[in-house]
Chain length 344, copies 2
DNA sequence: TTGAAAGCGCTAACAG
DNA sequence: CTGTTAGCGCTTTCAA
């Protein structure tokens, strides 16, 4: 409640004024078809006149359905999550529900605590880029309605953008440009994406006859870029794949400061195609995906829309397509470029 | 409620198990000082053992205090609002409350509807860049707990960044570079900021002996940049002030496409210093402010923290400092630059 | 300090 | 189709 000068009218007020029982008012409001058309009209008119609005809290108490869903993101500062938040917000609103957003600051403890705190006040949780362990997520998934974004765990519904396939695209792109070595600047240790991506990178590298090195972890933010760029340089690689665009942009800046040419001396690739990826210098080659759509689907999954499979065994695992956006931060290996050093 | 395999324990369960009355349990939980230390300990231990968690819904029903605040932003896509959202989220969480965010899509109707819908489910509202009329806001402010961000209305608490003073800084900066004319690419018609800024621009222009023209409105987004840039060009101005950084970045892109030099042919200034303003080309001169702090203060105002003045007459109007970040999108007028055309 | 009991506003049987 | 009557889980007088 915000504040009622003279108290907001309740169904009791409407009932008295309309000369009917409260249950009739309740039905007229929530189940119009189960009330005589005439009385319904009458009740509605009285409610209107009194300025009645149903108290969602009171409505939720008996049923336990709050029509609210909570979304947690690992870092609300990262533009990448904007798309997810926006999609989730749209879909939640479309379903007549309300969205709560929380920042878990890359902390699995904070994730768990938030869920604990909000449990009972929301109908379910959507977690984007969860840093919790598979086991903890599975446990939480058994106790609460829960869907994941950018993370897959058996038995828990999820929506991700196909970064595995996308990472393959990145590797082929680099190989076709003549790169013989690649460095992956990894994200947080607990990041599931980081693990998955490295798997694909190292596997593809073997197939393509390239050398691949994993460095890090680095904070997936612009400020992590300097250290990441320096580390990549120390390896003498010709191609660097950053954990995300934020890190890539930070690297671009560092390379510029150090007089290292991009893509002349080194090619740089990012993930997410965030706002700014198209106008940084040079514009960034990056893996794009419909993250707003991922947000929407995750909410759908949670709310049980679209006839999506339930949780537990056979929980729906939505995989959205990704595509590589080639811009100017990647290019052919320059003739006479340094040979990659040995993969330590 | 999410879902309880075997029902979540209630204070009744705890009371029975602990051999006390429910009211004692309630007190032990909410007013520890009003219960005997020994019984309190005992009750707490039992609650712990049973895995009891208070149902916030049930707690809110009698009191009407939901410990939840709603934040509405005009466009959740705009990075500018990220800072505000983040600050609001932090402060809300610090106060032990929960934040709901909503996108009002630049629509005053949607603002009003959202407030109506959530009224009763939240303790108050924070609206950033409201598009409603002063009268409507004042009315809403009388009926609900409400604070504003980037908008001032008599009698309603608010937190803004000092764009009036900041706009003066912009004008002086341009004047000192030798500009004799300036164009303001205005934001949405209903934008209070747009009106305020134009007032300062036209006033400063008179004082500084410059010509000033207002063009627009333009959508305050990157996509609005092309039309804005073309309009500015048609005026033959040497300096353009965009309603926000998004629009400015869009203009930069258009100028580049058309071969117009920035700042050689025309200087460009934006507002907000959003993510990306420092690495677009050229890096953007823009008015910066602590928007996260504005978000924090707005929540403080709402929750009545910091001993801030209440609403009504003398409602607190927090004004945060702004400062001009001079980058490379502004520069001296080139010798032999086109003369500004007559101000129509 | 503790217990009994009356709600908060709405929904959902169960009768009529 | 409509009214009566229990609750939902917690807080809060009012007594004891």
């Amino acid at each position: 409640m915000t504040r009622g000068g003279g108290k907001r009218p309740t169904i009791y007020d409407v009932a008295r004024e309309a000369g009917v029982a409260t249950s009739t008012v309740s039905r007229a409001l929530a189940r119009p078809e189960r009330v005589n058309a005439a009385t319904r009209e009458h009740v509605l008119r009285v409610a209107e006149r009194l300025g009645y609005h149903t108290n969602q809290l009171a409505r939720a108490l008996p049923s336990g359905r709050t029509r609210t869903v909570a979304l947690f993101v690992a870092d609300i500062t990262n533009p990448h999550f904007f798309g997810i938040i926006r999609g989730a917000e749209q879909q939640t609103r479309a379903a007549g529900c309300t969205l709560i957003v929380g920042d878990t600051e890359e902390s699995p403890e904070l994730e768990a605590r938030n869920i604990e705190r909000l449990s009972g006040s929301v109908d379910g949780f959507v977690i984007a880029a969860s840093r919790m362990s598979d086991a903890d997520i599975r446990k939480l998934g058994a106790e609460h309605r829960l869907t994941l974004i950018s993370r897959q765990v058996d038995g828990v519904p999820s929506a991700i953008v196909d970064h595995a396939d996308g990472t393959g695209q990145i590797m082929e792109h680099l190989a076709s440009l003549g790169h013989r070595s690649v460095v992956y600047l990894a994200g947080p240790r607990r990041s599931w994406l980081a693990t998955q991506r490295w798997k694909v990178i190292s596997h593809s590298a073997r197939e393509l006859g390239m050398a691949a090195t994993r460095l890090g972890p680095f904070p997936p933010a612009v400020r992590g870029g300097a250290a990441a760029a320096d580390a990549a340089l120390a390896r003498g690689t010709t191609a660097a794949i950053a954990h995300n665009d934020l890190l890539a942009i930070g690297m671009l800046r560092r390379f510029a400061d150090r007089g290292v040419g991009v893509p002349g001396d080194v090619s740089v690739v990012g993930y997410d195609d965030i706002f700014g990826a198209d106008f940084c210098s040079p514009p960034l080659t990056t893996l794009a995906g419909h993250f707003a759509e991922a947000g929407r689907r995750a909410v759908d999954l949670l709310l049980g829309a679209r006839g999506e499979a339930p949780r537990g065994r056979g929980a729906a695992q939505v995989v959205l397509p990704s595509h590589l956006v080639v811009r100017e931060s990647t290019g052919p290996v320059r003739a006479g470029a340094k040979r990659p050093e040995k993969n330590l």
